[in-house]
């Protein structure tokens, strides 16, 4: 087990205080939603930890969308989430998630907010440099590597995978992600990876209205222009359940209160940011461990 780092905890506390101050300055309400939930997620590749008759949440997304639908237009939550089978330098099965929602905002607005929060956190740690963020698209990054995602087949992306998404992610990890060393927002993901984001079909390639933020080469945050149509939400849940079944896993239970709330959700952008990772990247640590209290 790693040693507990008092200095690491001090740095972490500075970042947490800066983040909360930023949200207070920008009119956000801090909420605390239940950690123990009846449905832990929709996404097929998340492994929730069961707990009595429910699960430990993998993110506060379902509950926060109910909060927004109930009439709170700017909310955030900062608290623990749990994902089984995730353990490594940049992953822990328990980790701290910062998630926020803003009614009427677009993805560009959330990029501006991430830039502001990262700058505030860096300043709280005494760092004086300014971060210069690039804003680009998934398809642009692949085309820089000689691949057109709109037409690429599974075998063009990877020789070892049978599904398009698996081939995409192997190529991403092999060739694209390692190049993302400078701060960057990557938007317009393949429609098959929309999760809970809206899909735009008016271009020559259907894309999920999502972005991921990379800082110091680490995936820091994931944002959605939130899906807010009940029928579309039910279809996504059914597709995710089918994927779960195809990989030999039990589908996640459906959270009926969440599905009902999606139908009443105004146009909203939402984002989840890994706080452990933010602290670690800004402190220059090799992983998230120095900012955490080792117990296992």
């Amino acid at each position: 087990m790693n040693a507990l780092s008092p200095e690491g905890l001090r740095q972490r506390a500075r970042v947490l205080a800066a983040v909360r101050a930023w949200f207070a300055d920008h009119g956000y309400l801090e909420v605390q939603t239940p950690v123990l939930v009846p449905s832990p997620a929709m996404e097929p590749h998340l492994y929730a930890l069961p707990c009595e008759d429910g699960f430990l949440r993998t993110s506060p997304e379902f509950a926060l969308k109910r909060v927004v639908s109930a009439g709170l237009p700017r909310v955030y939550e900062l608290g623990p989430c749990f994902r089984g089978r995730e353990s490594g330098l940049w992953h822990g099965r328990e980790f701290a998630m910062l998630e926020w929602y803003r009614v009427g905002a677009g993805l560009d607005d959330l990029m501006d907010e991430v830039e502001g929060i990262v700058a505030s956190a860096a300043a709280a740690l005494g760092r004086t440099e300014t971060f210069s963020w690039r804003r680009t698209q998934v398809r642009t990054l692949f085309s820089e590597a000689g691949i057109d995602l709109a037409t690429a087949t599974v075998s063009e992306l990877s020789s070892r995978d049978s599904t398009w998404d698996d081939a995409f992610f192997r190529r991403w990890l092999d060739r694209i992600e390692p190049t993302l060393t400078d701060p960057v927002f990557v938007s317009d993901w393949p429609a098959s990876q929309a999760a809970l984001a809206q899909v735009r079909t008016d271009g020559d390639w259907p894309v999920a209205q999502r972005f991921e933020a990379y800082l110091g080469g680490v995936e820091l945050a994931n944002a959605f222009l939130e899906l807010n149509q009940r029928e579309a939400q039910e279809l996504r849940i059914a597709e995710a359940a089918a994927t779960r079944t195809s990989i030999g896993e039990t589908p996640h239970p459906v959270d009926a209160a969440f599905v009902e709330a999606v139908g009443r959700l105004p146009t909203t952008a939402g984002i989840a940011l890994g706080i452990d990772r933010l602290v670690a990247v800004l402190c220059g640590w090799p992983g998230i461990e120095p900012g955490r209290i080792p117990v296992f």
Partner: protein, 189 residues
């Protein structure tokens, strides 16, 4: 039995890929936000030392390499091969010049080494991390110059050449780190 990803993966595991034996020297869990989990690994080629890396999806497998590591004692060079003796079976095996590679620079008689055998053929030899060797030639030492930089060349009893500090004299013994091939310190004999 094939090795399962990620449950069987650990550093030091020897796997077969592209017709070569590789040793896993680094592994890390990685998972793109919306995708399946992968394990990022670095592999060292046990024949040519090249390092490769790749991402392997959870559920994929790696084939074990037919490789064994034998503790053996170096006996002599017969002009073509280096002969080693297995300390348990007393069997002698020849190791080719190519398989010895850079290791021959610091090899001395009776040295205990680890011989890596792939599909029955020795493919490389690991020396002890530190070896002590005598200098057979170097320019005369400069007394009083205790600078630690390696500022001149010295020829060792094995014929290999290494950089040493100016204060080192011909006939002295020095310790070498065989991983880097570099001078570590003077040894009193």
């Amino acid at each position: 039995m094939a090795y399962q990803i990620p449950s069987d993966i650990r550093n030091g595991l020897k796997v077969e890929m592209e017709g070569y034996p590789w040793e896993i020297v680094y592994f890390q869990f990685v998972k793109p936000g919306k995708g399946t989990a992968f394990t990022r690994m670095k592999f060292k080629n046990l024949i040519n030392g090249r390092v490769n890396e790749g991402n392997y999806r959870t559920g994929e497998t790696l084939e074990p390499a037919d490789i064994e590591t034998l503790e053996m004692q170096y006996l002599y060079n017969d002009g073509e091969n280096f002969l080693f003796m297995n300390q348990e079976s007393f069997e002698q095996i020849p190791v080719s010049q190519a398989a010895m590679g850079e290791s021959k620079n610091f090899l001395v008689d009776e040295m205990m080494c680890r011989v890596i055998v792939y599909k029955g053929t020795p493919v490389s030899v690991e020396l002890p991390t530190f070896v002590e060797l005598q200098i057979t030639y170097t320019e005369p030492g400069v007394r009083g110059n205790t600078a630690q930089g390696t500022n001149k060349q010295a020829i060792l009893s094995t014929g290999a050449s290494v950089g040493v500090p100016l204060f080192i004299d011909q006939g002295e013994w020095i310790r070498i780190d065989t991983r880097t091939g570099e001078y570590v310190e003077r040894v009193k004999k």
